[in-house]
């Protein structure tokens, strides 16, 4: 386990050192950015709409019972942008993009394509890892922002349509505006960037250390996704504490 952690940290350091070559890899960055952002957009939209809705559905009646219906926008807004949107988007990207990266790099490792790069004096970190890391660190926070906006709308619809809550759009968004500021949204996006580093580096490291044939690739994908999600949930607490300190 410590060896795995060491390898991941070494890879992170080597990726950081390769940053000056980022501009030369811009074509690959855009390709990966498309995978992280554009291709995940529909799924993110549907998920966020329902997360916002279910949040309003769960909290709305409880608040309404106590005569606090006007706070529903604030509760949904804050929960979404500080916690739910970054975590859910990170899990979505880990499952959709991280698994694909682990499988792709893993298969390149098994079928000697990574070795072929090394023999051509092309650093696999610069060629394979760096563009993916930049793409996910840029793409995931934007996806979080999108998820927050869609989630708010989902919450507004349920708050309006649900007979136990039944507040107007105007009242919902007024409450949201009173309770949520730009810093809260930035808080979520910063978390998204932190999760992006975790997903990217774990999935790339797993891919590069793949051994064996197709079964090895399967194991790599499973480990990459499970480890990513575990670390997202684990480090979420520490990120939250850190960002609260900045508050």
């Amino acid at each position: 386990m410590f060896q795995d952690a060491g390898e991941v940290l070494m890879l992170l350091w080597r990726t950081f050192r390769a940053l000056p070559c980022a501009w030369r890899q811009r074509r690959k960055v855009f390709e990966q950015l498309f995978e992280v952002g554009n291709a995940s957009l529909l799924m993110a939209c549907v998920l966020s709409l329902f997360i916002g809705g279910v949040l309003a559905l769960q909290t709305g009646p409880v608040l309404a019972e106590r005569g606090l219906s006007n706070f529903i926008g604030q509760v949904v807004g804050l929960s979404l942008c500080r916690e739910l949107a970054p975590v859910m988007m990170a899990i979505l990207v880990a499952g959709r993009v991280g698994s694909a990266w682990a499988a792709e790099i893993g298969s390149m490792t098994v079928y000697q394509e990574v070795d072929a790069l090394r023999t051509m004096n092309i650093d696999p970190v610069r060629y394979l890892v760096l563009p993916r890391m930049i793409a996910i660190v840029v793409g995931l926070p934007v996806l979080v922002l999108f998820s927050v906006l869609v989630g708010w709308v989902g919450g507004a619809f349920i708050a309006y349509l649900n007979y136990q809550v039944g507040i107007s759009f105007h009242a919902y968004f007024s409450s949201l505006r009173n309770g949520v500021d730009a810093w809260d949204v930035l808080h979520g996006m910063a978390k998204g960037a932190g999760f992006a580093v975790i997903i990217g580096i774990i999935c790339c490291a797993q891919g590069l250390s793949t051994i064996g044939g197709p079964r090895g690739i399967g194991r790599t994908v499973t480990k990459a996704v499970v480890n990513s999600i575990a670390f997202i949930l684990l480090l979420d607490y520490f990120f939250t504490r850190f960002l609260m300190l900045l508050d």
Partner: protein, 270 residues
């Protein structure tokens, strides 16, 4: 004696030396005390049965594996040191071709030039077409590797190695899994490149016909040890029983008439 003598500036190819190379995986020795030298411009063949450690040895020669003990020098520079691939152009043709499946054949062949920004894109396109034509491939630049046959993939991999204008080429089983016609073409290509360009070549194979046909010198590897080293004639004359067993192994079937005598008789029904 200097373990890594400097290369001869008059030679295009570079030499390599292996001293006391040992490697084991999980306590199981795969290479034991390997010592040999390849002279600049030489075509050196490493032969041996499957599982004898040939590919592992080849990977050590280009730094894809780290030895447990011993030293390997390519062109006077220790393998594994950061400057080895900076100072010398060493190419490897993998057994599977190892073309990048996400790139077209043309992008694969020109990858070295485009990634190191050695030529402008138009020049890269011209060089790629030229090297592909050299190995007998035409109009495949825009195809994906998965659209090529095994032989074409190997030839494309050879073209990718040639683009580097190498001083040393390592071939891993270059004719395995190929039909005899393509295998002969590849064998001739290896020989032609060595003669015409003076590139030092190390070929790993278990095909005796190819090995004895192209080698200036050769080595026989068996269970991780070098059993014979020298010119093809010297290796053929080696008294080692395992070497002789490997060199003389062949199909010894009964003749068709003898086989028919042993075959079950079928009664003919009217």
């Amino acid at each position: 004696m200097d373990p890594c003598p400097p290369p001869d500036p008059n030679q295009r190819g570079i030499g390599l030396s292996v001293r006391g190379l040992c490697k084991s995986y999980d306590g199981h020795p795969v290479l034991e005390d390997i010592n040999f030298e390849v002279r600049p411009g030489e075509l050196f063949v490493i032969m041996g049965p499957s599982g004898s450690g040939k590919t592992v040895l080849l990977k050590h020669l280009i730094g894809l594996e780290q030895p447990d003990a011993g030293q390997i020098c390519v062109g006077g520079v220790p393998v594994g040191s950061p400057e080895m691939l900076d100072r010398h152009r060493v190419a490897m043709v993998f057994q599977s071709g190892a073309l990048l499946n996400s790139l077209t054949v043309g992008e694969n062949v020109g990858l070295y030039l485009s990634e190191h920004r050695l030529k402008p894109p138009e020049e890269i396109r011209r060089i790629v077409a030229e090297k592909l034509a050299l190995v007998g491939l035409k109009d495949v630049e825009d195809k994906m590797p998965s659209e090529l046959s095994g032989g074409m993939r190997k030839r494309a991999a050879l073209a990718r190695a040639l683009v580097m204008d190498p001083q040393l080429i390592l071939y891993d089983e270059p004719t395995s899994e190929l039909d005899p016609l393509i295998a002969v073409t590849i064998g001739e290509e290896i020989l032609r490149l060595n003669r015409r360009m003076g590139v030092t070549s190390v070929v790993v194979t278990h095909e005796r016909e190819l090995a004895f046909g192209i080698a200036h010198r050769m080595a026989i590897l068996f269970q991780g040890r070098l059993l014979a080293l020298g010119t093809p004639e010297e290796v053929r004359a080696s008294p080692h029983p395992e070497v002789q067993r490997f060199l003389q192994a062949g199909f010894h079937f009964d003749s068709p008439s003898e086989a028919n005598q042993g075959a079950p008789h079928h009664e003919k029904h009217p």
